[in-house]
């Protein structure tokens, strides 16, 4: 298992020591990007357009926002068993988030990422985290997810 300190080549943005959150790995990988918190659960099938990498469910509070390259924090996923197909499309179209943090593990969404990596697409990490640890973290804050499931939030 990796050590907790960030690798020197990637680093963490300046501004203070990072907060360290220990997550449970659902799909292992590394990713880094600005945080986007979804305040409501979302069904990727019907809720996310994989070509544009955008939230398209008009009833969702984050409707219209892009998820591409973001570290997406989801309270939970809902609904369709076709959400794994949408996750695969996001990976194929290179419109996927940089990483997904989930308050409640969702096997269907995670499986889309597993299948993506079987087909040779760059996998993204999916990690179950305590969402309380992010309550005071603003959207846009740089978050890094490491291979060992450690999540670093820029200070």
């Amino acid at each position: 298992m990796d050590v907790v300190s960030p690798p020197p080549d990637q680093g963490v943005p300046a501004g203070g020591p990072p907060r360290v959150v220990r997550g449970r790995i659902l799909v292992a990988g590394r990713g880094r990007g600005p945080l986007l918190t979804l305040t409501h659960p979302i069904s990727f099938w019907g809720g996310v357009d994989p070509v544009r990498g955008e939230i398209v469910d008009p009833r969702h509070p984050q409707h219209g926002l892009s998820i591409t390259g973001r570290v997406l924090l989801l309270p939970s996923a809902v609904g369709s068993s076709s959400s794994s197909a949408i996750m695969l499309e996001l990976l194929r179209e290179r419109t996927a988030p940089a990483a997904v943090l989930m308050g409640k593990a969702d096997a269907i969404l995670s499986l889309g990422a597993v299948v993506g990596s079987e087909l040779g697409y760059a996998p993204i990490p999916i990690v179950e985290v305590p969402v309380e640890a992010f309550e005071d973290v603003f959207d846009g804050t740089t978050v890094e997810v490491r291979r060992d499931g450690i999540v670093l939030v820029a200070g």
Partner: protein, 451 residues
């Protein structure tokens, strides 16, 4: 946490069954770990939902399995695709989408799955028995196979359904395990009059309410009639699996795991001869479920949800057959169209019907063949009925692009219609649909709903 694998399962993981099976096994094992399953369960059949085109990734996945020599390990049926392969002209699609949707359907057939292309495989001979372990996709089929047939599946979706079919294994968790099949809520329908609960129009509404009320809980429904039909149970489950994540329900005195309420909630497993000492808490016994009653208000509220165009006086199209129409439903429709059955407040007519608006019936190609053999389809087509097979009107563009109001007797079409087709919806019985389609003016018999 790691699932424990048998020697045979490890060998498949290491490639003994070929590259496709090894990949499928890696995905099944990954799923088992995500789901917290400690082992895999051998399955005796599969129903694959993954042949519906959502994007090129689904084709890429299926063709990767074909290239790796993938063959289904157990009898496997296929859910709807995005095309009607027998009547290709009914689907409006661009050439790329059509070509890719076709490749996706073909890939699964190449792997040995039966080209049933139906969301109701239980109507075309795929009927696992009580207690059989299976891996099925498609929410209504899952609810039916668990509830009405008493076989055991969890809710499987894209990719995992196919991986289970190729490996003959599924993660041992959820509804594969007996303890998770007990009802945790008793739904009391004894107060609903027989005049309502004998009618088909009742069941999608009850299902809609159940799904909203229960989420993914298992219910035992009391007070339905012993003669409740398969089509009625199909409609109930499909609606409950649309508004909620219902994968199993019991109907006391009707479905196989619920000869009694006690059996459905699992308390018949208690040894009656052994009295519990004071303060004794068993870990193995279920908590007593809560009870909820079916009331007229609850049903009217649920029914209102099925009509987004409740105030409409005109309809633009009718669609029935979600889940896919059964042979019995073809017989009912044929009688209504021939004018040999009364329809709503319109008495049996002596002249055959000719519809004023497009009328779609979605079904399986095998059911269509049986209906044709019985001579049921000629008069339907003469009345203007468009029969769609292998797919349906809410998963692929079939309805006229003009939009408008779609009438249906299906809780599932009513739920998904507005978001998937752009049409507003209005719900009614099959009789109401036939009566309304004759003139294009909405006619509904709502008298059965008050008591």
């Amino acid at each position: 946490m790691t699932a424990t694998l048998s020697d045979e399962e490890r060998a498949l993981l290491e490639g003994e069954g070929g590259e496709a099976v090894a990949m499928a096994m890696r995905i099944v094992v990954a799923a088992a770990e995500l789901l917290g399953a400690r082992s895999l369960v051998e399955i005796s059949s599969a129903h694959i939902d993954g042949c519906l085109y959502h994007g090129d990734g689904g084709v890429e996945f299926a063709e990767a399995l074909v290239r790796g020599g993938g063959r289904v390990a157990v009898p496997t049926t296929l859910n709807v695709g995005a095309l009607d392969l027998l009547h290709p002209e009914v689907v409006r699609a661009d050439p790329h989408r059509t070509a890719m949707a076709r490749r996706q359907m073909d890939a699964y057939v190449t792997m040995g799955a039966q080209p049933t292309f139906t969301c109701a495989p239980y109507q075309v001979g795929h009927e696992p028995g009580l207690g059989e372990q299976v891996a099925w996709g498609e929410s209504n089929a899952i609810a039916f196979v668990n509830s009405v047939l008493g076989a055991r599946t969890e809710r499987y979706g894209d990719f995992l359904d196919a991986c289970c079919a190729l490996t003959g294994r599924a993660p041992m968790h959820g509804l594969h395990l007996r303890e998770n099949r007990r009802a945790t809520v008793v739904v009391d329908a004894t107060g609903v009059p027989e005049s309502l609960k004998s009618r088909d129009v009742f069941f999608p509404v009850l299902g809609t309410w159940l799904g909203l009320r229960l989420g993914d809980e298992v219910a035992a429904i009391e007070g339905l009639l012993p003669g409740t039909t398969r089509d009625q149970l199909k409609a109930l489950g499909a609606a409950a699996a649309s508004t909620g994540a219902v994968a199993l329900f019991h109907v006391v005195g009707v479905t196989p795991e619920a000869p009694t309420t006690a059996a459905a909630i699992g308390i018949e497993e208690i040894e009656p001869s052994r009295p519990a000492p004071p303060g004794w808490v068993s870990r193995g016994l279920p908590a007593l479920p809560r009870r909820i009653r079916v009331t007229p208000d609850a049903l009217l509220t649920a029914m209102a949800r099925l009509s987004t165009a409740a105030g409409t006086e005109e309809i633009d199209a009718v669609a029935v057959g979600s889940p896919h129409f059964s042979l019995q439903e073809f017989e009912q429709l044929a009688a209504l169209v021939a004018g040999t059955a009364a329809a709503g407040d319109v008495p049996a007519a002596s002249t055959p019907v000719r519809f004023a608006v497009p009328f779609y019936v979605c079904t399986a190609r095998d059911t269509l063949a049986a209906a044709e053999e019985q001579g049921l389809t000629g008069p339907l087509r003469a009345a203007g009925v468009q029969i769609v097979v292998d797919t349906c009107v809410v998963v692929t563009p079939i309805l006229p692009a003009t939009g408008g109001v779609l009438m249906t007797n299906s809780g599932k079409f009513a739920h998904y219609g507005p978001s998937n087709t752009g049409y507003e919806v209005v719900y009614g019985s099959l009789e109401d649909c036939v009566t309304s389609a004759r003139t294009g003016r909405l006619v509904r018999d709502d008298s059965v709903w008050t008591w």
